[in-house]
Amino acid sequence: MDWGIILSNTAQSLLSPATMAFALAALGLAVHFGFAGLLNFGIAGFMAVGAYGYAISILTFGLPWWLSALVGIAAAVLFAVVMGVPTLRLRGDYLAIVTIAAAEIVRLLFLTTAFEEVTGSADGLFGYHASFRASNPFPPGTYGFGPWSYNEVELWVLVIGVVLVALAALLVWRLMHSPWGRVIKGIREDEDAVRALGKNVFSYKIQALIIGGVIAAVGGIVYALPSAVNPNVYMTSLTFFVWTALLLGGAATVFGPLLGAMIFWVLQAFLSSFLPALVASGILPLVSSAQAATLRFVLVGVGLVLLVIFRPQGILGDKRELTFVK
């Protein structure tokens, strides 16, 4: 077993575009679910809208990369409004069903061959990097050390990713420690009580849906920045991975989603190197190395079950909340 490779893969995933994309998506979901109590199972849809909005703007309309990112954000706002206006009057569980369907509709629209020229259908979109790389301020070279060694392009992606994660975390922290956040948390507890106190509950819910959706869309853009956009990424399983990261860190916290995303990807990277290595060295019987790689999802599932049972508030959640789980 080559511990060097296993550990280096694991260490790399601590600071990868995927980790930061998940951190952003989980943070957006924290705004929806943890703070506003909106049971959104369509977070993959928001990520897809952001990523496709970004890629299509560059490839089809030839916009610069930063303007394209803004288009992706605007698309997420539109998606939130279109989905929210008819559904936010529904009760939580109905909203969950509608959001899961909305995310699937979005994915299938991107997958269908009807819009192949724009969306690339099953091939997805790629080769939209010129504008982003042209704006790279870092001269060519190798940066960092050990497992964290990057070329100038990777570094540029990471810097953008870290800045966006920090800005999003700051935004959510500021919002949730303001009277606005108090209303949002009140709505999570009991909408009717908040309505009786003179707050326009519907308007606040739409605002929360938009803000969380925009943060998740930025996550989708960060996911798409270094590589390609593929419709198969934005499946329902992505939604549940983001949920895992969120619950792991703590749903009603600002830094929980960030921590959760890191743990999720570090574990994924570790297990996807470690399990096949176990099979190769004959320690893990009965499975092939390809099966062993998938076994990690089983373990993640088991981990999630244990977490929800034994620490429902997440790693960073307030312990007192546990006593009053509804």
Partner: protein
Amino acid sequence: MSSKKATPVKTSGLHIGAVEPGVKKTDPIITIDKVHRQFGGLTAVDVDHLEIPRGVITALIGPNGAGKTTLFNLLTGFDSPDTGSWTLNGRSIAGVPAFKLAKMGQVRTFQLTKALALLTVLENMKLGAKSQRGESFIASLFPFLWKKQEGEIAEKALRLLQKFKLDAKKDDFAGSLSGGQRKLLEMARALMSDPELVMLDEPMAGVNPALTQSLLDHILNLKQEGMTVLFVEHDMHMVSHIADWVVVLAEGKVVAEGAPEDVMKNPAVVDAYLGSHQDVDLGVITGRVSKGSE
């Protein structure tokens, strides 16, 4: 709880002309006209005309299913009637959503207490305050715009919590309060908005006698401070103790109204609500105690 004995000062001279269902008031705060609400085949509320007097305590009584809570929901914008109109201070408020009514100075509590469990007691209170600058999305990002107001709101909240003897609990989650404390919190929270009209849906339900006394004092204080109170209640002792005016609802209609002592003598009320055995011990009715043995 409260040591000071409440001595309710009853207000009279509220009505114009003979006392009958739908009688005119000298100074109504709410006027209801032909409000009708049907759930499938069931007529829940069918009120022809009703005026709620200003500045006093009005009780809304009636048997279970009489439509008291439905009328409450209609008046507070939580439900909309099939037909009818009603006004607050002479201004039509039919079809106005609940949150706007609350902004207009009409605040309510709920039969099943709605404490916001995972917010602290103090946060619950602060949420009740009106026109907070920091509650708009853009302004919330710039604390210097709302920090000062937030401080004032916190001060006011603490004053009210002290009055309701909840100040020691201010940093606890509201979910950790007892049922009675939640009732107190809900009432205190409603007062954060400086309402003109306070509507209490069964404020005494499930509250022990000692706490009932303190809640009564709080309700009487509301009147003293110039607020109008409309409440739904089943406990007739409490109603006759603090109410200046009583409205009796049965099968969705106003069957009687008047001063409490008069209403309780009204045969229609005795039949519909109090029951013909109202003065008799329950043991006498069931036959376990012989009449007059006490």
